[in-house]
Symmetry: C2
Subunit: 428 residues, 2 copies
Amino acid sequence: MKCQILRVLPTRSSFCSSVNSTQLARSCNGTIPFSGGTSLESTLAAMNEEIFIDFQKMNKTIAVHEQDMDVVVQPGISYDALNEQLADQKLFFPPDPGPGAQIGGMIAQGCSGTNAYRYGTMKDWVLGLTVVLADGTIIKTRGRPRKSSAGYDLTRLFVGSEGTLGIVTEASLKLTDKPENVRVAVGAFPDIHSAIRTAVGIVRSGHPLAAMELLDDMAMKAVNSSGYSDIEWPEKTTLFFKFAGSPAHVAEQVEEVERLAKEQQCVQFTFSNSADEADSLWEARKTALWNMIALKNDPSDNFISADICVPISRLGDMIAATKDSFERSGFIGSCLGHVGNGNFHAGVFFPAKDWEKAKGLMREAQKLGVSMDGTVTGEHGIGLVNRDALIWEVGDGTVATMRQIKMALDPLCLLNPGKVFKLWEGQE
Amino acid sequence: MKCQILRVLPTRSSFCSSVNSTQLARSCNGTIPFSGGTSLESTLAAMNEEIFIDFQKMNKTIAVHEQDMDVVVQPGISYDALNEQLADQKLFFPPDPGPGAQIGGMIAQGCSGTNAYRYGTMKDWVLGLTVVLADGTIIKTRGRPRKSSAGYDLTRLFVGSEGTLGIVTEASLKLTDKPENVRVAVGAFPDIHSAIRTAVGIVRSGHPLAAMELLDDMAMKAVNSSGYSDIEWPEKTTLFFKFAGSPAHVAEQVEEVERLAKEQQCVQFTFSNSADEADSLWEARKTALWNMIALKNDPSDNFISADICVPISRLGDMIAATKDSFERSGFIGSCLGHVGNGNFHAGVFFPAKDWEKAKGLMREAQKLGVSMDGTVTGEHGIGLVNRDALIWEVGDGTVATMRQIKMALDPLCLLNPGKVFKLWEGQE
């Protein structure tokens, strides 16, 4: 343990002088809570000999309330294990980030996934939290009511705070009914704009599709090249639609989606007639990221990606501009994502020597997203990597306000220090 | 303007000594933002010569983004005026608290209403906010992406903070498609428990009803006595169901709801065959609070109510116990509310001299709600009236954490001082 005297960065203005003038004495290193370890953006990077708290053994389901459709869990359970436990009771926990993610990390990241179009993100599925604060105080943000106006929404302040405000030791999660009669349709489009116009039409129609995902031409080429799929796909911008509900309601939605797709010159519309066929069609979306590896020029190439989310009317222009910039760069890259809510992932493969150039491409895409009233991260978070981008997006004053909350709850900067924003001058 | 030296109440522990030891010098009185003025729980009470900021003239719609299904507004527009403006574009803003409420106050209160069962509460419909902080800094919490993981969720921290953390001057709001083909059904039940079992069955079925509301026997008696309704209603616990969607989907839901209701000995199930009939059936729910006045023993009687929300499996016991306590008290009272998410309003009429007794009844009901893992306020907020109840519900440590955030963002306690929790010793 070392003791350092550090000058805290400005919070908002001289108005809040008690914090501004503080010099921070750190008598011990920071602490990083760790569950599934699947986060991106260096959220879990230990920069200064931080201590990890591993939640591997705190993986219990404490209570399932079937009638209330909620569950109380520890942070070390994964969402897929939880859904397996809930399946017999026909209950379902929707947030579905990358495989292996656990509830603690999902809360820290405010994550989402393919189900977010219909069901929203992690923020919408946490009822209440038990949190250990930086000074060891244990608080419970609330019980299990479906809604509450009782005081500040600390629950949603902790969700997405990347372990910087407190350590979650228990969570009450909302559940819903397990989707039944799941069907999938896939449509290939002549270009990105016709695909996005279809997506906008579907969103406006109000049909509650279970998911709507986009893979661009390069991603579809990767699916074909990987050899994992039995189907030979058109190498065009492709939308994957997931439906769930009563057979009549699904039929109604499929008819409407096919009509909207064909209005936009959809060149191939394939519909699954059974649950097995649905799984097989969805497989291409599910394995897209891994399939991308088939496109690598050189096995030693690195990969970098961005996670932009813009208002859906701008998504066509956004993806088209990003793809243009990839083409100009000479790197192989693609765009895919959760088109129903305007979120997409843009990534390129690049040789190690071109790190700055590749990073510049991502920064350029993020800045374009912000200029379209979007966000630099729809679901991956800020971590270390996107700290500058957070400032471009929301401005100095907003980041300073976040820092002020951090300094109020964790004045010695013990919890995942330096993530989301810098705390002191010279912090890495 | 007067200057007072005040001793700030503890925040969390001696760990946060910078705030704990502060003596607060208030050089001016506080400020209370004011829009529709319909809030309950004394959120807008001026206790110490506070200055009101009236948003009456900041009532503009700045931009409607039809494809993105969002709108940018000023705080002084009412939700019904907004929905009138949006109707031609078949867009809809769901939160529906009491008539006259305006967006600024709806944000401050984190309100909801009858639409919350299907659509969620105000927290789910605010994309981003422009906020003036206590020191005059203007921040924007984010743009208009449908989702974001960029830093702390300041948007949802301000929503429900009752004007104590900042003053909202602009809001981007999410919209959805205007519900079409709205139909209503009404079922009368032998007792509260059979009605709640029906509600639980419907929630578990996963059918996305537009609303599900409960009026107890006393509330139905009030509807009959008021003379406003053409229908002679059974004076029994009654559920009001609202459906919206395609005709086939509505028909499917009505059939399932009728089946579930009849399983629970529903004695009368009435369904509207047209939009006009639907309006006429729903009228009884809409005017329930005003109709209640017909039950008053004495025109000078006062009214007090509570706004409890519990996990739905406990709602039958909760309402039954509350009704028993009303009967024992000798006051006339009833329970009604948003049963789909476990939220109900319990209220009694009482002579002025019995204020303490009537207040005690409400406190007893709130404490029972908390013991059932519920909340003392599902949608009305804390204000001045429920400050003690907030402490019973979430505990000292959680309230101290809220106070710490308040002190970080508004160290001179200029913004709606004393609401949600007390700030200094002796504060009224």
